[in-house]
Subunit: 391 residues, 2 copies
């Protein structure tokens, strides 16, 4: 079928079809029997689910001559045609918007940054619309439609309601962001917490593919955590989950902005590190880069600050492991720039505080460029596109 005559509706209307498409998206290319094996569906159910997806151009069948020769029959692997649809993802920080245009396989095609001039919802929305227009213009060159927009915001975000309940960095409360952004952009919009969005990208397209239980710990301005349990991202019954930054590990520790003492974030967050390095060195330290430079020049006080941060992060990760027993913890975030200064402490503190076989959990670092946060937002839009009938 030529692209122009293809139906514009995504032909997934059953849980089985959604499951098949998701499986091929994360694990493909797969033969039909591999799909059946992975999903537990019957061969007939797989064939029934695959057909309309191939007809609509979302899945393509590669003729594998080698396999045919080896098996004496065709065992055509099926994969997602990433170019069949485009998506936008925008991460909203306190200072700038980071936007990406991705294909259906969440590969970044174009990335753009836009400094924020004002943090109020209205001007931020206008700037989101501006960035979206720019990316849509870029998308025109690909000849396929943009099918959804994902927005990632730090803080307490209710994805189902499409609302930002509370974002400390933006100082937003109860902003119905999905609805507002849908009105200004005309696209279906998914709004999610930024760490959860990054976790979706890792689960579907990254280091978490194939794992039913893992965690993504982000180290930077805040200390965040995305959790996948039983194959699903944990959202929390009331919007809060994964708050590893507010696991309190020391009642005699520094005061946290949340009002408690000794939270992981109050010891290992960027602001805490900058303040502590300045105090240790007896000078004014402007930002994380300067704090890092101090420590890298060998200042013992500064190095001790990073060591303490590593210990706090390691103990936070051990708490996650003791409660949930994940297979893997992925450490990421811009704070990894200091990884040489606290990697050992993270590992030691984790090993000491992990209980019994929880210590078997693998802990890996994965430096992700800042565009990955926006890619996470695009991943949530792809997820919405695949799993709902909104399109």
């Amino acid at each position: 079928m030529p692209p122009s005559s293809r139906p514009e509706v995504f032909p997934v209307h059953t849980p089985a079809a959604s499951q098949i498409f998701t499986t091929v998206l994360s694990h493909g290319p797969l033969t039909r029997s591999e799909m059946a094996g992975r999903t537990g569906l019957s061969a007939a159910a797989v064939t029934k689910a695959v057909r309309p997806l191939i007809e609509a151009g979302y899945l393509v069948e590669d003729v594998d001559e080698e396999a045919r020769r080896a098996l004496g029959r065709p065992a055509n692997p099926v994969r997602v045609d990433g170019g069949r649809a485009l998506f936008l993802g925008v991460k909203v920080t306190g200072d700038e918007l980071i936007g990406v245009l991705t294909d259906l396989c969440c590969r970044i095609r174009v990335a753009r940054h836009l400094p924020l001039t004002d943090r109020d919802p209205k001007p931020v929305l206008a700037q989101i619309a501006e960035l979206v227009r720019e990316l849509l213009t870029e998308a025109d060159g690909f000849g396929v439609r943009v099918r959804g927009l994902g927005l990632a915001v730090s803080g307490d975000v209710d994805r189902a309601a499409g609302a930002v309940r509370y974002s400390p960095f933006l100082e937003w409360r109860d902003v119905p962001l999905a609805e507002l952004a849908a009105m200004t952009t005309g696209l279906p919009v998914t709004v999610d917490n930024d760490v959860r969005a990054l976790t979706v990208a890792e689960q579907w397209f990254g280091a978490g593919v194939g794992l039913s239980d893992f965690a993504v710990v982000t180290v930077g301005a805040g200390i965040g955590c995305g959790l996948v349990v039983h194959g699903q991202v944990v959202a929390g019954a009331h919007g809060v989950a994964g708050e590893i930054g507010h696991v309190a590990i020391d009642p005699a520790g520094p005061l946290c902005h949340c009002g408690n003492r000794g939270c992981v974030e109050a010891i290992a967050g960027e602001e805490a590190i900058v303040a502590a390095v300045g105090e240790a060195a007896g000078v004014q330290v402007a930002d994380a880069a300067e704090a890092l430079a101090f420590a890298h020049r060998g200042d013992a006080g500064a190095r001790a600050v990073y060591a303490r941060a590593g210990e706090a992060i390691g103990r936070g990760i051990a708490t996650v492991a003791n409660l949930l027993g994940p297979e893997l913890v992925i450490i990421s975030g811009e704070g990894l720039a200091a990884y040489d200064l606290f990697a050992e402490q993270i590992r030691d503190a984790f090993a000491a505080a992990a209980f019994g076989s929880a210590a078997q959990c693998a802990v890996r670092t994965r430096p992700l460029p800042f565009e990955e946060w926006a890619r996470g937002a695009a991943a949530t839009a792809i997820q919405s596109f695949i799993t709902t009938d909104q399109n």
Copy 2:
């Protein structure tokens, strides 16, 4: 069909049938349209799943004359016939075995205690066999078969493998308990961690019915936690999960048997409380009952020990809430005997340490008699019976 000619195989061979039966078990009686509403299955799929279960006597249809009059057509509610099958549950503690005989709805019919004479696996197994024989004799009076045995043991238990990896109270390592118990009793055996088993009972038959995310925190000799996330009990990739007792909240706190300082259990576990009350009162305190008596007589030092324990438990619960955002935390366990001495501290510490809307999580106490632990074991046997083809 008279009972004697009923098929002895549980007629559930599809995920849909298992889902229907589980739904009626937890929420019944339900009409077929209510089942469809709750499970998302079609009316046809419900009818197809219900029929063989009714024919085999596991479900019964009540003729609801009132509903028929009101609707002008039958809207027969269907419920599980609890008397259709029996199960055994045994909780193994360091001192005794607690055994129960339950029906298919996990209602306790008979309860028995048996003091342990020796903690080695072999004599414990012999005593389990003795208790099982006793309960099977009781079961004879009901005229239906016992279809499974659940064993609940504290520590690191691999339910899938049927093995106790490590149980500190029993000093067991790598005991293939399910296989050994199946050989001595001739019953299908399910082995699980005791707190997880209790959580299964709460999820299917207790305060967790209908909740997708909740936690059970048990306070007593140990401080344990069973977690339900996305409707499933968390087992941990490596067997450890829910170790709220080893969430370390104070690096300057007392040394824990796990090697760390300031674990919740090192402050709020029975042994820690007995030791601390003895120290505060300057006398030898024999056990939890004596420690409690001291505090109840108004000894300020003893009361402070309980207050500190409550604070530790509250902070542990806040950590669970900050990471997982459950709807409900149920506090239970024999330690609730001291609840008047630390309830306020639990609530205050939880409220102070819960981050943002995580504080909306309801915290409820639910005193459960000690037989409930054995009932939890029976619940796991019922779960295995319903969800597998072992029968």
